[in-house]
């Protein structure tokens, strides 16, 4: 099955129990020779900040405003993402089992 990356971008993702996890903001890939393999999907508001390379701007502002440290990027390995319905991506695991991306 073919899926366009740009149509998945920003789509809301639910976990296996139907709980909201966040939106797909990035696709981490690995180049293997002439192939390009999807390793993981990055989900969450902080992933958007990462994509905009905006941490150098956001962190100082957050510190200035004495905000709570926030960092929510979930790294979802490709095996844990069900894209059989590209309009409604779902995880194959529960939200509590997700790991944060570095």
């Amino acid at each position: 099955m073919e899926i366009k990356i740009q149509h998945l971008l920003g789509r809301k993702v639910c976990d296996v129990d139907g709980n909201d996890v966040g939106r797909i903001e990035e696709f981490r890939v690995e180049r293997d020779g002439k192939a390009c393999l999807v390793e993981a999907y990055l989900i969450g508001a902080s992933a958007l900040i990462q994509r905009l390379s905006a941490w150098t701007l956001v962190r100082p502002i957050n510190r200035f405003l004495h905000g709570r440290s926030f960092y929510s990027i979930y790294r979802v390995p490709w095996q844990d993402m069900d894209l059989s319905d590209p309009h409604h991506p779902r995880l194959r695991i529960a939200k509590r089992d997700l790991r944060h991306a570095k």
Partner: protein
Amino acid sequence: MKKFLQIALGIVTSVGGFLEIGSVTTAAQGGASFGYKLLWAILLGTICLIFLVEMSGRFSAVSKHTIVDATRERFGFPFFSIVLLGMVLVAFLVLVAELGGIGLSLQLLTGIGFRWWAIPVSFAVWLVVWKGTFGLIENGVSLLGLVTISFVVAALKLHPDWHGVARGLLPSLEGDQKAKYGFIAVSILGASISPYLMYFYSSGAIEDKWDVTYIPINRIIAVLGMSFGGLLSMAVLAAAALTFGPNGADITTFDKAAQIMTSALPRWGLFLFAVSMLVACLGAALEISLAISYFFAQGFGWNWGESIGPSRVARFSLTYTIIILLAAIPLVLGIDPIKVTMISMALTAATLPLAIVPFLFLMNDPIYLGDHRNGWISNSVVAIIILISFVLAVISIPLQLIGG
């Protein structure tokens, strides 16, 4: 030596970029209506522009990307298309005003109405872009623009009240006619902080193949160049204040505006005013035509370059050809360029956030800029400009309706 020449020419480049029909009209109106009291608006606009221009040049010299390139890459096509739409529509209106300014200048010199000049002027502008190179446009028109120093001469000949000038550099809230005061202040800021200048300057840095060694030169050009332009605008305001006095008549025609020169220089004033406006508006028209074409070409990944033959940058060439042709139409139909100017300045102010907010992100991007990212001073200034731009965005259209 080449870098030194760039400084010298960069200073006079501000003539076409900074001083044009918008800044002259708004400064003249400000001086005629409120004396020296709106000098602070020109000063504020100049300071903001110095920072924005310096950042634009630095961004391109270090990253080898233009601002438009980076906006598309970093924010994606959907967001980019919103910025494209906003910036291009407003820039187009400003282009109509500038072409009209050239027409009005020729009307002053020849007596032939500006409507008759619309098509020849558009053709002439197109021909310079079509056959010229970036160097010709950057340097040639700017050198001709030295004639605009006559605004400074006129202001000095009218013996300004220097205490009044100093007081006018500090913001004040006008007693009565608050809406009109606010509208002209907003228009002056809109005329000064023109996003198209940032996009043009950033593209110019790539056209001129700048690298990190140009960062110091870029800083000098931004400070001295934009200050020169700001000084010229202040001279227009002061000359208008002295010619018409505060609470003077509204300057709604070019003939009236020309009095700021003829009162100081009776013999040559009209000629100098017309030629100054012609050169300044020509420079601005060339810059805006290219800025709009750069926006499309860089955004969509077409070949682009002013110094490359038109057929090798076919879509880029077609874009500026169509833009310049379309801009002549409102003028042929007789729409008053001065009215278009005032509306376009207010709309520029209203759409500033679209240009400045993404720019703040780009200037802090470590991938593009590495160690040349903004420091806290530049970021603070941009944050203040964003605040100003949001305030302008909210109040400019209501003020246009009430005070315009």
